[in-house]
């Protein structure tokens, strides 16, 4: 996909690419690495910032769809450049039941690795990645920054992934 006015050094990662590993704070005193989840499908949902308006909020909708993601054994991780305390307050307010990772220092480093960082605004793109059990990107989607992409693309990808030969047990 073409960037929209933001300079990127890494191209937006697509299917077949190895998902770059990372370790980020998930609470003020805990880190989480992508490799910790190896063996499970993982959904990475990069979003620009915490505290967007409540009812149209992407993370709020995903929170309600978690049981559908879990049917595919998939884990959801939300990522933005907000700090860990900001994430904690946001997650508490919205009663989120999945981890938010702070891509805060160095700012946006993980988003950059996935080609999903907006230099001009200093935030990550609204970008989705579905990673298979082996750590390979199965599907990715770069949404227009103002459009909440919903969860249908993720669920379609998880279904296709489960249906491919050996997909469930690879």
């Amino acid at each position: 996909m073409k960037s929209r006015g933001s300079k990127r050094t890494v191209q937006f990662l697509g299917p077949g690419a190895a998902a770059p590993d990372f370790t980020l704070p998930v609470t003020p005193d805990q880190n989480l690495s992508l490799s910790d989840l190896k063996g499970k499908p993982v959904i990475l949902a990069f979003y620009p910032a915490d505290w967007s308006p409540v009812c149209g909020d992407q993370m709020t909708v995903y929170n309600e769809v978690l049981s559908e993601f879990h049917k595919h054994d998939a884990e959801l991780l939300g990522l933005s450049v907000d700090g860990v305390w900001c994430h904690q307050a946001f997650a508490k307010d919205r009663r989120l039941h999945f981890p938010l990772l702070a891509d805060f220092e160095p700012k946006g480093e993980v988003a950059r690795k996935y080609g999903a960082y907006r230099n001009r605004e200093g935030v990550s793109e609204r970008a989705l990645f579905v990673i298979d059990r082996r750590g390979v990107i199965f599907w990715s989607y770069l949404s227009p920054i103002a459009v909440n992409p919903g969860a249908d693309g993720i669920l379609d990808a998880l279904e296709r992934m489960s249906n491919r030969v050996g997909g469930a047990v690879e």
Partner: protein, 177 residues
Amino acid sequence: MLRVPVTPHDHIAGSQNAPVTLVEYGDYECPACGLAYPNVLRVQAYFDERLRFVFRHFPLQQIHPNAEPAAECAEFAGAHDRFWEMHEGLYENQDRLGLPLFLTLAGLLELPQADLRNALASGQYEPKVRADFVSGVRSGVNGTPTFFVNGHRHDGSFSFEELAAAISVRLRVTAPL
């Protein structure tokens, strides 16, 4: 796109033969849905028999604790052919959702209050509400309210003007040559 077509199992207001169908995925506790409610009434009045309106549930339970029971209460009324009256009562009284209101509304609609209480306690209508929710997720609902006009997601605002404009476009598309 709307993945699950409108069927007689849906709550449908307006003419069966209307050339345009407006589907809303909404949550009774969502303030934005409350703001959209009068606008929907206006587009229904404005387009009259050219528009049918369908409401499906999309309760955001984690941030709106009364949304799911309110949706189940509407389904209970729907099972007694009083869905739209309950729908109206819930949105008109959005600031006091809860069991006392549900029972009061049921009483006003002459529905059996004890049955409503039991239906909510047993989750009798939960599968119907969940089916709506899942159909919304699969159709790209990304918050509440989300509207579809003849199956196409409406990404504009829910002001009367923008909803009416989206409906008008579909009316022109479906008008006979």
